[in-house]
């Protein structure tokens, strides 16, 4: 990369500053890892020769039904992703390639959700789901997020870039509307699906407030809510165990991120530029 006028001192200072900031940014996580894998007495003082242990992880795993919470989160994330893919694909195709009265108005209605997210409408959505007798179900956690303006917008932008002649060719071969969508549009939009999928999964894996409000039992609580309850009800707080639980709940996503780092970063970029 070409750099205009770069003095060696300035360059070194810049590198140093960038790395100091990087260390500062990694510190909390490194500290958490240290605490989780060492006996409790080492949580408050650093000793490079401290013995490693898995006892904290084991204790945390047994102290609360984390296995169940993990299953709940996986079910939740899968349900949301599958529904979002189907619903957003259909809607995005209509906005991108069909002509119908009220298209622009409806699109603006959809876009409004980018600004007013369901997260702030807790009280009303809670009431709605109680009236539907769905409170305290995994479906109830998912429902407010299934129609996603963000997904519709992202896929519409992608569909618009797909050359119309491809669509026409498929039509000439006798493909119906859904067949064209499935054979032409969906395969060509694969990178967008991956990007949107990663963003959606990380958002809902980490989401907390709405699940906290709408769930009330072990069989529905996602990991985030389970962790919060575990960390606050545990009276004489043992930091090593709390930290171990904290790492445990974040680990699947974190490991996935470390393995597919490029993919993740590029997905967030792609989803951001719109």
């Amino acid at each position: 990369m070409m750099v205009a006028r770069h003095s060696p001192i300035g360059y070194s200072l810049e590198t140093l500053g960038a790395w100091l900031l990087g260390l500062l940014w990694m510190l909390p996580l490194l500290y958490a890892i240290w605490t989780a894998f060492h006996p409790a007495i080492y949580a408050t003082h650093f000793d490079p020769l401290a013995p490693l242990t898995f006892a904290n992880l084991k204790a945390a795993w047994q102290a609360a039904p984390f296995a169940r919470y993990l299953i709940n989160t996986v079910m939740l994330v899968t349900l949301i992703l599958a529904a979002q893919f189907v619903l957003c694909t259909l809607a995005a195709f209509a906005f991108a390639r069909l002509i119908f009265p009220g298209r622009d108005l409806l699109f603006v209605v959809v876009l409004l959700q980018l600004m007013v997210m369901p997260d702030v409408l807790l009280v009303e959505n809670y009431r709605t789901l109680v009236q539907l007798h769905l409170a305290d179900t995994i479906l109830a956690i998912a429902l407010p997020y299934l129609g996603s303006a963000f997904g519709i917008f992202l896929l519409r932008q992608t569909f618009l870039t797909i050359p119309q002649p491809l669509d026409d060719a498929a039509r000439l071969e006798g493909c119906g509307l859904l067949a064209r969508l499935w054979r032409v549009y969906v395969p060509l939009a694969r990178p967008t699906y991956i990007a949107y999928g990663l963003v959606s999964v990380s958002y809902h894996w980490n989401n907390f407030l709405w699940p906290l409000v709408i769930t009330n039992s072990v069989t529905t609580r996602p990991l985030t809510v389970g962790l919060a309850i575990f960390a606050t009800t545990d009276q004489g707080i043992d930091w090593s165990i709390v930290t171990a639980a904290t790492l445990m709940t974040s680990a699947p996503l974190l490991v996935a991120f470390l393995l597919f780092q490029r993919q993740f970063v590029q997905s967030f970029m792609r989803a951001g530029i719109r």
Binding site: M1, M2, V3, A4, R5, G10, A18, W19, L21, G22, W25, M26, P28, L29, Y31, A32, A43, T44, L87, C88, L90, A91, F93, L98, I99, F100, D104, V110, L112, M115, V120, L121, V123, E124, T128, L143, G147, A149, S202, W205, N206, F208, L223, T224, L227, A228, V242, T246, L247, T249, S250, L253, L258, Q261, V265, F268, R270, G272, I273, R274
Partner: protein
């Protein structure tokens, strides 16, 4: 009706129904509910007009929540945007260990806010926490960071900045990578200093991204309260009560849904202003055809 029109409506139906049911309708219902008293049992709630708002504006805790949130936004937003830009500029250059650095900056984005809150809770613990130990090493005394009304809100701000800066960095990085390199070469030939180049070329070209990030940062400052729920529960003495936390508390701990509705309307108004900002300033960049 034409066939294409029927098809279009059928394709849109499921997504629009869900969107309206859980975003547009609740927003309108909140507005309506804010004009009625909290219903008790099966009795329908009486219409009370502006009474809920009068009560809300008479509640000093509401004003404190609004003030706290304003400070929280004013501190969190510029700090995370400036840091995000600095991070993006750093990892856009050929620094040693660039990939590692980018990962370090971005990592907090992947952690649940609730996990972040647990880790930082430990940092802030009096005596044992990292902060007090660092201060003790310099001869300072013990401090109850989250228990002192003067430091509790700044402590929350630090957590939010740490969590968000790396996320915003991504958008700057994406923009920097698509920036034409010939501009840079031309500037180098003309002997323009790096600072000058940054101020005159890079920064203006990043303006649309800054606006986009700004709007998102404003929304997040009013939307994310996970750390408040876990770390301080709005305390001590409401020092860290943000607007949405106020809504959450009145709605789900005191079960006063009418009060919660009127506070939500205030929150929605703020978000609508952010939306207007985006459509007014940023909207021109996006083409709706």
């Amino acid at each position: 009706m034409r066939r294409e029109t029927v098809h279009a409506y059928l394709l849109l139906l499921p997504a629009i129904v869900l969107l309206v049911a859980f975003t547009h309708w609740p927003a309108i219902a909140t507005l309506i509910d804010s004009l009625y008293a909290t219903p008790h049992g099966s009795r329908p709630a009486p219409f009370v007009g502006a009474d809920n708002y009068r009560d809300l504006f008479d509640d000093p805790v509401f004003w404190q929540a609004l003030r706290n949130n304003a400070w929280y936004a004013v501190a969190t937003i510029p700090a995370s945007i400036v840091l995000a830009l600095a991070m993006a500029l750093a990892v856009n250059e050929a620094l040693p260990g660039r990939a590692m650095l980018r990962m370090a900056y971005f990592l907090p984005t992947m952690l649940p806010m609730i996990a972040v809150a647990n880790i930082w809770l430990f940092f802030y613990t009096p005596d044992y926490g990292l902060f007090d130990r660092v201060i003790a090493a310099f001869g300072g005394g013990r401090h109850n960071w989250l228990g002192d009304a003067a430091t509790a809100l700044p402590a929350m701000i630090a957590v939010a900045v740490w969590k968000e800066a790396g996320f915003f960095m991504i958008f700057y990085l994406a923009a920097l990578q698509t920036m034409p390199t010939d501009l840079r070469e031309a500037a180098a030939l003309e002997g323009s200093s790096r600072w000058n180049y940054f101020r005159r070329v890079t920064l203006p070209l990043l303006m649309p991204i800054t606006l986009f990030v700004l709007v998102n940062a404003v929304i997040n400052a009013f939307r994310v309260i996970d750390h408040i729920v876990v770390m301080t529960r709005g305390g001590p003495d409401n020092a860290t009560t943000l607007l949405l936390y106020y809504v959450y508390e009145t709605g789900f701990r005191f079960w006063d849904t009418a009060a919660a509705a009127s506070a939500t309307v205030v929150l929605l108004t703020i978000m609508a202003l952010a939306a207007a900002l985006q459509f007014g300033l940023l909207g021109r960049r996006v083409h709706y055809r």
